[in-house]
Symmetry: C2
Subunit: 336 residues, 2 copies
DNA sequence: TTGAAAGCGGTACCAT
DNA sequence: ATGGTACCGCTTTCAA
């Protein structure tokens, strides 16, 4: 079996207390003693049992990280960054996948609550009220979701939309479609609002083609609607929809970007790999994951500051091959 | 604070032992007592502290899941399945990302060892010896890697290669290139060996274009080599390389699949999204993740069976748009 | 069937 | 500076 603090104490001829101190507060122990302990620690390859430590300190050294769907290409990047940052801080990450189900999400959190010091909730699907109630029991940081004053990190969606629309306007586009994601999505509402507001302020005409599922199929399904809308450009709720649009446009012989320009959101890995590569609004996933951990750790340490800090991360337009100058005339829709 | 077993015991007017029993072995307590306890449990929303339980039982209810790179599109699918299965079994998953670094990997495992009941090591990068030594301390299941008799789950790479080559042969191809992945990769060696063996047995001519990094850039870099090899078809070590090939071929005006057929490996999500969609050998990621957990749990329970069970999962060719009939003449390479 | 009590491996307070 | 010791929350003998 692995060595315990007792073994170390015995072999070093000191008390458990001294061993514990040597590890936690080396300067509180005489160099002589310290060295003796350290030698034994090294010799035995002793590593304190974090579980046991957790029991007495109340701190587990573990952070719960909840995502709706780890297979969704947006999340791995965030998880990776969070993971890396946690390691730097000597923390572990307990990952939980809620399968996009609000009930599972809450259930997961409740079950794990005592195993972790706090949670980073990535784009949580639960209701505001549920989220609030969870926060009463355990420190939480929200990613990509804002609920009251709870500490959260979001991306500057409005500015992303602004950059996208400015880009299109500069290319001479006047009519742009917005393919909306799930009606229930907080982020979708944010982007939709921004499209309306910014388009108006830029003198662009924004048309909405309705809500679709935020995946490839959703994009495929909305492609014909977009065409029928006689626009020269389209902004998709996310990249998966954008990819679906590209695919369906190709199948219908609509040239991208000659006939129509496409802009996605998220900059998922696949966007750079397709042909033509998708112009997209990138959200700094790594920064998001890192800051998420940092914010949570801050809260863990400074228990006094109960007022949540709300952070906004910049987005950045990445121009690739799906955007180009507007055609003089919009492409003919099927019914024209 | 959250309720403890003491609170429940006091309110129910019984001992801690009875509460513990009510939860662990309900049939060992008088129905009367049980009901009283259960009522209080419900009333207090009591959930046993898994950390504390872990201390006394030596079981944490947590499984360590180590991946080289969660951002590698192959892994999220596996993780998701493992996650789901763990949840079904009431287990939690501690995810660790080694950043493709063997040293980090081992370090991670050592640190986490006492926090978990066992590990599932996904395509571990460490050496055979290191892996063996780890296994002395904690139950481990290997995914996509075989080390001696250690319990492991691999895919039937050879059969995947066989299916791929048979498909190409049926399309009339006679010369096929294999774009190899990292020389150090266990899986690459497996596939390379199979290519040589199976091609020979089918009367196909296999040419090797050398090792490249297993990513998009690797594919791009090898595309011209493939062309110069005057083959009509190519099998890539993995899909990312395949995607790179598609991209570079498109840039060079080489038509896929008319001029050359491409087959990838892994069936990562992006493969289905690109145009033309990539024909690929699919490995059942979900099954892999699920079985990985099951196998580990088996070992956890039946401590006697120390002989490792070695499982092989079937692979399946998914024909999409990058494979077609062989051209009568191979495309002209640059130097011809 | 039930309760008392001894750990599990640490931490931290209190003396010394 | 060091050692003794009472917990942390739960499980698990061992008696009753």
């Amino acid at each position: 079996m692995a060595a315990t603090i007792k073994d170390v104490a015995r072999l070093a001829g000191v008390s458990q207390s001294s061993v514990s101190r040597t590890l936690a507060a080396p300067d509180q122990v005489r160099p002589e003693t310290r060295e003796r302990v350290e030698r034994v620690v090294a010799q035995l390859g002793y590593h304190p049992n974090r579980i046991a430590r957790g029991l007495s300190t109340g701190r587990t050294g573990t952070i719960g990280f909840v995502v709706p769907d780890i297979a969704n290409p947006f999340f791995p990047g965030v998880v990776k960054a969070a993971q890396r940052r946690s390691r730097e801080l000597g923390l572990s990450v307990l990952l939980a996948d809620s399968d996009e189900d609000p009930a599972t999400e809450i259930d997961l959190i409740r079950t794990l609550t005592k195993q972790v010091d706090g949670f980073v909730l990535c784009a949580p699907r639960a209701s505001d009220d549920e989220l609030r109630s969870v926060c009463d029991d355990v420190p939480v940081v929200l990613l990509n979701r804002r609920v009251g004053q709870l500490p959260s990190i979001i991306f500057d969606n409005a500015d992303g939309i602004r950059q996208a629309l400015a880009h299109l306007a500069a290319l001479g586009h006047r009519r742009v479609a917005y393919v909306a994601g799930p009606r229930t999505s907080w982020v979708n509402r944010e982007r939709l609002r921004a499209v309306r507001f910014v388009a108006a302020s830029m003198g662009l005409e924004a048309v909405e083609t309705g809500n679709v599922s935020p995946d490839f199929e959703g994009g495929v399904a909305s492609a014909d609607l977009v065409l029928a809308a006689s626009v020269t450009s389209v902004i998709a709720y996310n990249d998966m929809i954008g990819l679906g649009l590209i695919s369906r446009f190709a199948a219908r012989g609509v040239k991208v970007p000659d006939d129509i320009s496409i802009i996605g959101f998220d900059d998922i890995p696949a966007s750079a790999l397709v042909t033509p590569a998708l112009t997209t609004v990138s959200q700094p996933k790594d920064q998001c994951g890192r800051v998420g951990i940092d914010l949570l750790v801050d809260r863990l340490n400074e228990r006094e500051r109960s007022g949540g800090s709300r952070t906004s991360l910049p987005t950045r337009l990445i121009v690739r091959a799906t955007t180009g100058p507007a055609r003089p005339e919009p492409p003919a829709g099927p019914g024209q």
